[in-house]
């Protein structure tokens, strides 16, 4: 489904977190939301699953206006891989994944065969089947991320939102997750920290800075000038020899701090 944000403005506690955000994502695309800490990436995602109400603007998913539709209908359209998951209580991985089916269930009864089918398939997709019956709290950070990804996939929604999905993951599963996200036949929007991962796998990126969209388009818009403006660091840009994707190498403006260098020289003498 197509996602379109128009004029989205969010104020929390008197501070403006997002101002006048407008972008759209075409059906089936994988869009990365980039930006430094505090630039509003997570908040932007939260406006799309009814966790933060914008002071102005609209969020539309297909025909659905997220903020005037029923919250259940939104939950049936958008699945989220959130960053938080409490482990005070002992749910097994499979039980957690089955919670992804809650928007489609009613009443007290058991989970239906199709709910279980979707949950098991999602666990398989996220390569989490082997620890399906273990308590979530016993799993490592990376395994837990897989389970939370599986929960989002189990909902079978046309839109999937990923909030910093590669946190706690080793490099192999980071790549695996990004490939999975880019091959899903659903619209995927992910808040990401790693510019190179975004450049390698996203169909498009949206760059936020201080609550505003400063650039949006294909990953090739990630230029050293943009990186300097938004992140305040120096970047060299290369081209990946095999995929052709842009690759950025980061550093200080001035790579060798002079003062430290002279101190080392003194020590060597």
């Amino acid at each position: 489904m197509r996602i379109a944000l128009d004029g989205v403005t969010v104020r929390l506690g008197g501070r403006t977190i997002l101002s006048d955000i407008a972008f759209s994502a075409e059906p089936g695309r994988f869009v990365g939301i980039l930006g430094p800490n505090g630039s509003g990436k997570s908040t932007l995602l939260r406006t799309m699953y009814r966790a933060v109400r914008p002071a102005a603007g609209s969020v539309r998913i297909g025909e659905l206006d997220v903020w005037s539709a029923h919250r259940r209908d939104v939950a049936r359209t958008v699945a989220v891989m959130t960053q938080d998951s409490s482990t005070e209580f002992d749910f097994t991985a499979l039980e957690v994944v089955l919670l992804g089916r809650v928007p489609f269930q009613r009443g007290f009864g058991r989970d239906s065969a199709s709910d279980l089918e979707f949950a098991r398939a999602a666990l398989e997709q996220a390569r989490a089947s082997e620890f399906a019956d273990r308590p979530l709290a016993d799993l490592s950070g990376g395994q837990r991320q897989r389970v939370l990804l599986a929960r989002a996939l189990a909902a079978q929604t046309p839109v999937v939102l990923l909030d910093e999905p590669t946190n706690h993951l080793d490099i192999a599963f980071q790549l695996e997750l990004m490939r999975l996200a880019s091959t899903l036949d659903r619209t995927v929007i992910a808040a990401l920290h790693d510019l190179n991962l975004a450049a390698g796998y996203c169909d498009a990126v949206v760059v936020l800075h201080q609550g505003r969209v400063v650039a949006a388009g294909p990953p090739s818009i990630l230029t050293p000038a943009l990186v300097r403006e938004v992140f305040g660091v120096h970047a060299e840009r290369f081209t990946h020899p095999r995929s052709g994707a842009p690759v950025l190498a980061f550093g200080h403006e001035d790579p060798a701090p002079r003062e430290e260098e002279s101190r080392f020289q003194c020590a060597n003498e």
Binding site: Y49, V74, F91, E95, T183
Partner: protein, 375 residues
């Protein structure tokens, strides 16, 4: 408005889902149905044993016949003189109401505890955490100390119920912030207001006549000895209403346990759900406290034991907690009136004496580690 229009990259036609390995079996721990059956059996057995236990001798068989005779019309032994009026009175007017109230209170407090733990997402919460019991105590102690005329003619039970409800409402209002109820604020408000209510109770107790102090202590420690059939009505209704409500919300409660953010993403109105559940558990706790006083321990520990046995899924855990709470408190009451007979041990003391070692033993078993008690 900047529209993202990157050319679509090559993508595989669809997801690589492997449907051949899909299993259509529910992840149900096999023991749940069996456990529920055993607990229901235990509740019935305890009811009969309680009815047959006391100073007036009544055999187990006679106790069963008396109960059946009151429930079903026209049974021969009720009119053929084989059972004395004294036996009938002992069973139907004293022992049975008492055992039933113990069962209702145990079930209700366990359910209220489980609800409260889900509301504040903390397994250490108990039904009284939001000032419910200290509010009830203020109401009850006011009636004992100043007389019922001073509180608008309310009976002790009614005053306790009003106190319990008023306390929960006060806590919810204080904890509310920008229309949302956060677990941490609820616990802190509950603890603060609870201390305030306790101070009022203590002041009233210390300044009243000596003969009132015993009544106050009797209420604070909790007891089911004053039970009559009419006193069972309010707790029974509260238990049924709360049970149905929570049954319908059990999936939502599961989602709530994973965090507010993910519960919101699953389509729940988290604050409304919390308010709803809070009301349910406050009504339930208030209805029980008003007839049985503050019986501690059940609401904290029984839900825990239920989780250790069948996991955290409320659809399995709530029925186990309700039946388990009933059986536990009925057993505790049976012991309370027999182990030191003719002296009765206050129920609240016994629940802790019996329950604490049992709970500690469970905690040391392997399954407790899986239930998260080692973290």
């Amino acid at each position: 408005m900047c529209t993202v229009t990157a050319p679509p990259t090559t993508r595989s036609s669809t997801t690589a889902r492997r449907r051949d390995e899909i299993v259509g079996r529910a992840p149900r721990r096999p023991g749940t149905a069996l456990l529920l059956g055993c607990l229901a059996g235990a509740v019935l057995a305890l009811l009969v044993v309680s009815a047959a236990t006391g100073t007036v001798p009544v055999t187990l068989g006679d106790a069963s016949r008396l109960v059946a005779g009151h429930l079903l019309p026209g049974l021969p032994w009720m009119s053929d003189g084989s059972l004395t009026p004294l036996q009938d009175q002992a069973v139907w007017q004293f022992r049975l109401p008492r055992a039933l109230l113990a069962g209702l209170a145990g079930a209700g407090l366990a359910l209220a505890g489980a609800i409260m733990q889900a509301i504040v997402r903390n397994p250490l919460a108990e039904p009284y955490i939001l000032g419910v019991s200290s509010g009830a105590s203020v109401g009850a102690v006011l009636v004992i100390v100043l007389g019922s005329a001073a509180v608008g003619g309310l009976t002790l039970g009614a005053a306790a119920f009003v106190g319990a409800l008023a306390a929960s409402i006060a806590v919810a209002l204080v904890a509310r912030r920008r229309g949302s109820l956060s677990p941490t604020r609820m616990v802190l408000s509950g603890v603060a207001l609870g201390s305030l209510f306790s101070a009022i109770t203590s002041y009233l107790t210390i300044t009243t006549d000596a003969q009132n102090v015993v009544s106050v202590l009797f209420f604070l420690l909790g007891s089911v000895s004053a039970a009559t059939m009419p006193t069972l009505i309010a707790p029974a209704i509260a238990l049924v209403v709360a049970g149905i409500h929570v049954g319908l919300r059990s999936r939502a409660m599961n989602a709530l346990l994973t965090g507010d953010e993910s519960a919101t993403a699953l389509g729940l109105h988290v604050s409304r759900l919390r308010g709803e559940l809070l009301l349910s558990s406050a009504l339930l706790t208030g209805a029980i406290v008003s007839v049985s006083g503050g019986i501690g321990f059940v609401g904290l520990v029984v839900p825990h034991v239920a989780r250790i046995l069948v996991g955290s899924d409320h659809r399995r855990m709530l029925p186990v907690a309700v039946l388990g709470g009933a059986a536990f408190l009925m057993l505790a009451d049976l012991l309370a009136r027999t182990v030191a007979a003719p002296t009765e041990i206050p129920l609240g003391i016994l629940t802790a004496l019996v329950g604490a070692p049992f709970f500690l033993w469970l905690m040391h078993r392997d399954s407790a580690a899986q239930a998260g008690l080692e973290r």
